[in-house]
């Protein structure tokens, strides 16, 4: 065989050797100093500055609108009660999210195995999704209390509420992804007499990966929202109260700075979940999918 491609191969190797290996500073510091972080950071700081100045100039009473400094001070002083509450909400969110991922994935696989199953069940998944969670949460709490008496009753019902909200994006996205495999590749698998399992494992699941990960990002945020909304409805106190209960109580007691602090924590948690899932998604797709591939023009 001739070696017509050897030039090309050499140049590819050359590129690899020219590209410097990245140090940890380049890996972690540079993204933090990138415009994607600096620009919204500067805007945020400016807004906080205006907010603080506005509150001071107009002598706004803290029970209407506390300044950011006061909110921050409250966050520090109330950390001991707020942080455990946030952990409880986080736990509910995580359990519901994992349940949503597992059930969404399994049911979407079931859907692609038979058009009839999909036809018969998909409308009910839509109904579950479109029923407002606030409206059915009391019912779920009531029912779960009958089935699971005792301490864990609230936890279970909150998880179910959050799961109901988080489940659908995974199901619908993954179903779409499993059905989007390249038809030529499907033919190729047929030609080589691939089994149903092989087609699923080596073709449909990888094809669905970008769709699944997209659903994951939506669901992560929704699981938190579902957990918070359900906590509002449940309105339970005691040792197992989540962050939403702290928000509710603070507003009843007109502890508005404390309410802001709890709100801030909830938002931060939501952002953290989103960032974590985005990083995970990029890691999974960085070798092949357009969304995660960096191009130089």
């Amino acid at each position: 065989m001739t070696n017509r491609f050897s030039d090309l191969a050499n140049s590819a190797n050359l590129e690899k050797s020219i590209a410097p290996s990245r140090t940890w500073q380049q890996r972690w510091l540079r993204p933090l100093l990138s415009p994607d972080v600096l620009a919204p950071g500067a805007v945020g700081l400016l807004l906080l500055l205006f907010w603080e100045m506005g509150v001071r100039v107009t002598n706004m009473p803290p029970y209407l609108l506390p300044g950011p400094l006061l909110v921050f001070q409250t966050l520090v002083s109330e950390w001991g009660t707020l942080f455990p509450s946030m952990l409880i909400t986080l736990k509910i969110t995580l359990v519901a999210f994992i349940a949503a991922v597992v059930s969404g994935l399994l049911i979407s696989i079931l859907f692609t195995q038979s058009k009839w199953i999909e036809r018969s069940l998909f409308p009910y998944a839509v109904i579950l999704q479109t029923t407002p969670i606030v409206a059915i949460a009391p019912l779920i709490i009531l029912w779960v209390r009958q089935a699971v008496p005792g301490e864990s009753s609230t936890f279970v019902s909150l998880v179910i509420c959050a799961w109901l909200v988080a489940f659908f994006p995974i199901l619908s996205n993954t179903t779409l992804g499993l059905n989007s495999a390249d038809h030529n590749l499907i033919n190729l698998f047929q030609l080589y007499h691939a089994s149903r399992w092989q087609t699923l494992r080596y073709l449909r699941l990888p094809s669905a990966m970008p769709y699944f990960l997209g659903g994951l990002r939506i669901s992560g945020g929704l699981a938190l929202i579902g957990a918070v909304v359900a906590e509002f409805v449940a309105g339970t106190g005691g040792t197992s109260s989540g962050i939403a209960y702290q928000i509710l109580m603070s507003s009843f007691n007109l502890q508005i700075p404390r309410m802001f602090a709890a709100l801030l924590m909830t938002t931060a948690l939501g952002v953290a979940i989103f960032v974590a899932l985005t990083v995970f998604s990029d890691l999974m797709l960085r070798n092949w999918h357009e969304s995660a591939v960096k191009r130089e023009n």
Binding site: F5, A12, F189, Y192, Y202, P206, N287, H289
Partner: protein
């Protein structure tokens, strides 16, 4: 059935559920080791023939007889490279062996060999997005060759490539075919490509899909680039072009919705 034939299609028809008659009473015998091109305008059913042979679609009527051993090893190359974007070149080429249940270690030699045949050694760990169109097609061909097929079915494999890449891949394919002596069925709408590559060009016409001419290309192999400029080459091109023009001329009288077929003729005339 002739013992030297690889397969034989007998009285094959294909009607799609929307009523389109893709093939009508088609007879075609392809001999062992032959390089046969199916040539014709869009919609003449040439790709349908290939899909029937591969078992990717049901025939509405007719039979296919296989010569030699009962189960022939087939390989199919699509118009698009159809690679798995999440897998490296090596993993893409290994796919048919993996589906056959072969372990990674056992497949390694065959994979390396197939990659070497298409001259992509050094690109084993590249992802499809890092490759050019021509290189992707080479990977696709390597994937077809990795099972050491007896019959190679190619559906306009170089149709989407630029002219220079196409003629390079043409001569490389011919080179491989002479070494391995597979039976090749090559679908194309490019007359020059068909004449350059084949022992035999089967000209088809559309609506309904049928064979209108069967031309043996009696030029010796190996065929070099110079073959493309010989009078013999030109004679064959003119003859086949005439067959196509005849077939589509009749067609144009029957319906004027065949502009596409006409365009093909204009390009080659």
């Amino acid at each position: 059935m002739n013992p030297s034939s690889a397969f034989q299609l007998s009285d094959v028809s294909k009607v799609y559920t929307n009523g389109t008659v893709a093939l009508k009473n088609l007879d075609l015998t392809v001999n062992e080791g032959q390089f046969v091109s199916l040539l014709g305008p869009s919609g003449c059913g040439k790709s349908t023939v290939l899909r029937m042979v591969a078992g990717l679609g049901k025939m509405s009527a007719g039979t296919i007889y296989w010569g030699g051993s009962s189960q022939r090893r087939l390989a199919y190359v699509f118009q698009e490279a159809a690679l798995m974007p999440w897998a490296t070149v090596q993993e893409n080429v290994r796919l048919p062996l993996k589906l056959a249940g072969m372990s990674k270690a056992a497949a390694d030699t065959a994979v390396a060999e197939a990659i070497a045949l298409v001259e992509l050694t050094g690109f084993e760990h590249s992802y499809p997005r890092e490759l050019s169109g021509g290189m992707k097609m080479r990977v696709s061909i390597a994937r077809a060759l990795v099972t050491k097929p007896e019959v190679l079915l190619m559906d306009e494999p170089f149709g989407a490539l630029d002219e220079m890449t196409r003629s390079r891949l043409n001569s490389d394919l011919l080179h491989l075919w002479q070494q391995k002596q597979w039976t090749v069925v090559f679908v194309t709408h490019n007359i020059y490509e068909a004449v350059y590559l084949s022992n035999r060009v089967v000209v088809m016409a559309a609506r309904p899909g049928r064979v209108v001419a069967d031309v043996a290309i009696a030029a010796p192999y190996p065929r070099t680039e110079e073959f493309r400029t010989t009078p013999l080459f030109n004679d064959y091109c003119r003859e086949i072009s005439g067959c196509l023009a005849n077939a589509s001329g009749q067609l144009l009288l029957r319906s004027d919705a065949e502009a596409k077929a006409g365009d093909v003729i204009n390009q080659v005339a």
